[in-house]
């Protein structure tokens, strides 16, 4: 359970970090942020980076600000920092609920939001949130900056559109309107464990019917994604248990789960119904 040897680099500026990564990525150099996924992988020798570029001392990487309707999250914003204090309104309340499901206190003080996204575990709560809300990913390398949309960022099981020399320098989450209602539900075997299925619903209620629904599912397929067919079915209808059951059944038919276990699909339906019910202010089915 001891990591293999590596060389350690601790840049203090973004420019320095990017040039180190440009030089070392071809030799299996990697970024380390919170280390809460990478170090366990190194201890198990599943990961054996030859160089670590530690971004924990990079000036300005801990920025967290609301600007032009976006919550901008820098690479050193820890899980613990992304809650109600980060942004008022429905988005802040949602972040608070979601954060409470991620690992445990001593991991939340260290692990980063951007690290979770770069790691792209299909069960990651932040990945589900980013996929459902339509986040934008700002990434940089010595070659320049590009912006990746959420549906293009996640490429499959622990795979993203990031190139080895790129750093995710900012996650942008759209600030939710005050009229937005949100519901999040996850099932995991023990407190703090990765989810076996998790769903997030965001919707508005206008004159008794659902408007602008967004429904996302994580931990079931190889990456989190929006369930567009179920969303189409929900729009313009009045919330009811029967409607949410129908949405869950519709979603299930289109799922390609990571394993053959039918139990996981049952869980998917249940978390979808519970997330929708929570968003609509109805009791959990």
């Amino acid at each position: 359970m001891k990591p293999a040897p590596f060389r350690y680099h601790a840049p203090r500026t973004e420019a320095e970090a990017l040039s180190l990564l440009a030089e070392l990525a071809p030799e299996e150099g990697r970024v380390i942020a919170g280390g809460q996924s990478l170090v366990p992988a190194m201890a198990l020798r599943v990961a054996r980076p030859s160089h670590l570029v530690d971004i924990n001392n990079v000036a300005g990487f801990d920025r967290l600000a609301v600007e032009d309707g976006w919550l901008r999250v820098g690479p050193l914003v820890r899980h613990a920092a992304l809650g109600e204090g980060a942004v008022p309104g429905p988005l802040g309340r949602l972040l608070e609920v979601v954060r409470g499901q991620i690992a445990h206190l001593p991991i939340r003080t260290r692990g980063t939001v951007c690290g979770s996204l770069a790691n792209a575990d299909p069960a990651s709560e932040w990945c589900l949130l980013a996929a459902t809300l339509g986040a934008r990913f700002h990434v940089r390398s010595l070659r320049g900056e590009r912006v990746i949309e959420a549906d293009a960022f996640f490429g499959g099981f622990m795979t993203t559109a990031l190139a080895p020399d790129e750093i995710l320098v900012e996650l942008r989450l759209p600030v939710l309107s005050d009229a937005a209602h949100t519901g999040f539900h996850e099932f995991s075997r023990r407190a703090g464990d990765f989810a076996q299925a998790a769903a997030l619903a965001v919707l508005e209620l206008r004159e008794g019917v659902i408007a602008a629904p967004r429904l996302g599912l994580g931990a079931v397929e190889d990456r989190p994604r929006r369930l567009l067919e179920a969303e189409a079915l929900l729009a313009g209808r009045a919330p009811s248990e029967a409607l949410f059951r129908e949405a869950a059944t519709t979603a299930r038919a289109g799922l390609v789960p990571v394993d053959e276990d039918p139990y996981r699909l049952d869980l998917a339906e249940t978390v979808i119904r519970r997330a929708l019910s929570a968003a609509a202010g109805m009791p959990a089915p």
Partner: protein
């Protein structure tokens, strides 16, 4: 690979410790092997059990998931820093009085987690306390007495503070 060795000064319980380690040396191993502070325990070595929990700049962290090189310049507190002049502190006393340990393997981690809880949220709700304690594993006590001990320490400290 001598050029891969790092000369560091760690600040542990307020005292400077100069050590020479490889980059891959975790903080937990550095505490135990290089600094002689064996109070911090290692269970799983991959972040799950919490036996290695220490405080870094006042926040609880897993010492097995940090490299010692990353801890330079930060204030690290371990279980050795709790007792003063051989006298147990209120949290340690509460653990003893409430039967919050049996084998003791998890105890240093729980004491440091408990210290963080008492320092940041002494009036913590029962629900939040249980959630916070789910961070660490104990195979002996069943957790109820650990929660009771932390509550008792919070009460003892608030009456001491008021007196």
């Amino acid at each position: 690979m001598s050029d891969a060795m790092h000369d560091l000064t760690l600040t542990l319980n307020g005292q400077a410790h100069a050590i020479r380690v490889e980059a891959r040396r975790t903080l937990a191993d550095a505490l135990r092997e290089d600094c002689g502070l064996t109070g911090t325990h290692l269970g799983c070595e991959h972040g799950v059990c919490g036996a290695c929990t220490v405080l870094m700049d006042g926040q609880p962290v897993r010492a097995c998931l940090l490299f010692a090189v990353q801890a330079e310049g930060r204030a690290i507190r371990t279980v050795e820093g709790l007792a003063k002049g051989g006298a147990l502190n209120p949290l340690q006393r509460a653990f003893a009085e409430n039967h919050a340990l049996q084998c003791g393997y998890c105890t240093p981690g729980f004491l440091m987690l408990g210290t963080a809880i008492l320092e940041t949220d002494p009036g913590i709700s029962d629900e939040a306390l249980v959630e916070a304690l789910s961070s660490n594993l104990c195979r002996c006590t069943g957790y109820a007495n650990i929660a009771r001990a932390i509550r008792a320490a919070a009460d003892a400290m608030s009456t001491e503070g008021a007196a």
